[in-house]
């Protein structure tokens, strides 16, 4: 899910860059030197994973996975997604350079939403189903929130984009479902195999106890 160059008006583009700068500033606070390679390597993994296309009837959709970034990198998911968006714009004009700001808020904001929902899981008893369910919900809602930002960016640009915004939201319904299932499965996998990758994982010690 991207917005392309040439659509949005100047105030929306500017708002995108200002918002991105602020969010990046907040989410990059107290950054350790050690974290730089870690965030970059995981960003690269997500960039590559989003190239995967999943067949959907006669067509196919590619994974967005911003929810998964949220539940693995926590607050740092925002700069990570911002990097991925910037690289996609630079490497294959996917999105575009002038819309890096808006796209970062759209996808990175989704990552933050996913992280906040993911953190709510601590209020529920742990079990084998908890991580997949919360991962799935977090990913679905991150796509929902990205869709809302996309629609807002279009509608604030001009009245004439209302219909387009509606169709864009509609087109995201299958993606919400697919992302939810894929990320849910992935969260379950990670909780079993390498729980320390997941963000806000407190009780890893218990799991490994004999």
């Amino acid at each position: 899910m991207h917005i392309s160059d040439g659509i949005l008006s100047a105030p929306v583009l500017t708002a995108g860059f200002v918002g991105t700068a602020i969010l990046a500033g907040v989410t990059l606070r107290k950054m350790d030197m050690e974290e730089i390679p870690k965030i970059s390597v995981i960003t690269a993994a997500f960039f590559v994973a989003s190239l995967i296309h999943i067949p959907l009837g006669v067509t196919s959709v590619h994974l967005i996975l911003n929810g998964l970034v949220g539940i693995t990198l926590g607050l740092r998911s925002f700069p990570a997604i911002m990097l991925a968006v910037a690289l996609q714009a630079l490497l294959f004009g996917h999105g575009g350079v002038t819309v890096i700001g808006v796209n970062s808020i759209m996808l990175g904001g989704g990552g933050l939403v996913a992280y906040f929902i993911w953190q709510l899981r601590h209020r529920f008893p742990s079990g084998p189903k908890r991580e997949p369910i919360f991962g799935g919900i977090a990913a679905t809602l991150s796509v929902v929130s990205s869709g809302i930002v996309l629609a807002l960016a279009l509608v604030t640009t001009g009245e004439e984009f209302k219909a387009t915004a509606g169709y864009a939201l509609l087109a995201h319904v299958p993606i919400m479902i697919i992302e939810g299932i894929v990320v849910g499965a992935c969260a379950g996998f990670l909780a079993k195999v390498k729980p320390e990758i997941l963000a806000g994982q407190i009780q890893t010690g218990k799991r490994n106890a004999p």
């Binding site: 392309s4 030197m33 730089i36 390679p37 870690k38 690269a44 294959f92 992935c186």
Partner: protein, 262 residues
């Protein structure tokens, strides 16, 4: 999908020889200028400019095509949706659907702008080694942390594309076929998880290796820039064109879109 944007960085053209700092700044301003234009003739001139940039950089068309293809795929629906959903008077009706020329004009405007901007992006980043472009960005006051992460990420993308190809081959050897069903989605979830675990483990190794080579949160480079009058002349040319375009936009020489673009 070819991801190495700097595959043709070895060419020797006047854009390749342009000081990367001056090039990024002036062509960057050009791109943002194009993004806010809203008169079709002016945007057409911008597209011709972008084509000239590409012509000068000598980048082969099939290379640019990879980027333009995505723009076309993304914007194709606009040509169908916009004419039928544009508010205001309809020119005529197709099966009771109101068709407005204004909508079609807007779709064309968006399309041409996007193509021009993506072409300019290729002219900027296709004409210098990626690391050189990034160091130039750092000289232009882009935060050091972000530049470093971009460099790392860029390098690892290629490693993980290979990793993913290996995993994909292994899965297909075991008889996995992608279908539209729940099982495929579960398998893809685990696939992504495995990719993450492998990359995570690689990070720890990479970081230790970097520390042992003396990494202290700083990249040192032998790349040095020097901007001369030729670099500034090129910048003046590009900026002159975009200022002229924006000026004729503001003076309203050409008819603009009726609905809000500002």
């Amino acid at each position: 999908m070819p991801l190495d944007i700097d595959r043709f960085a070895h060419l020797e053209t006047s854009i390749h020889r342009w000081d990367p700092r001056v090039k990024i700044l002036s062509l960057g301003i050009f791109m943002f200028g194009v993004a806010v234009l809203k008169a079709l003739p002016l945007v057409a001139i911008a597209l011709i400019m972008a084509m000239i940039f590409i012509k000068i950089t000598d980048l082969p068309f099939h290379f640019i095509y990879n980027g333009l293809k995505w723009v076309a795929v993304f914007l194709a629906p606009f040509f169908i949706i916009m004419p039928f959903s544009y508010p205001g008077e309809a020119a005529f009706y197709i099966w009771k659907l109101p068709f407005a020329w204004e909508g079609l004009r807007l779709a064309t405007l968006i399309f041409v702008k996007a193509i021009a901007i993506v072409m300019t992006t290729y002219a900027i980043f296709g004409s210098a080694r990626f690391d050189v472009s990034m160091i130039a960005l750092q000289h232009l006051k882009c935060p050091k942390v972000i530049v470093q992460m971009l460099l790392f990420t860029y390098r690892y993308i290629f490693v993980f594309v290979e990793e993913m190809k290996r995993m994909d081959t292994a899965m297909r050897c075991r008889g996995f076929v992608m279908k539209t069903n729940l099982n495929t989605l579960y398998v893809m979830g685990n696939f992504v998880g495995t990719l993450l675990v492998r990359s995570f483990e690689r990070t720890t190794r990479v970081y230790k290796a970097m520390l042992s080579k003396g990494y202290q949160g700083e990249f040192h480079t032998m790349v040095e820039f020097s901007a001369g009058w030729k670099d500034f002349l090129k910048a003046a040319l590009v900026l002159g064109v975009i200022i002229a375009l924006l000026a004729s936009e503001l003076l309203g020489i050409f008819r603009q879109a009726v609905f809000g673009w500002y």
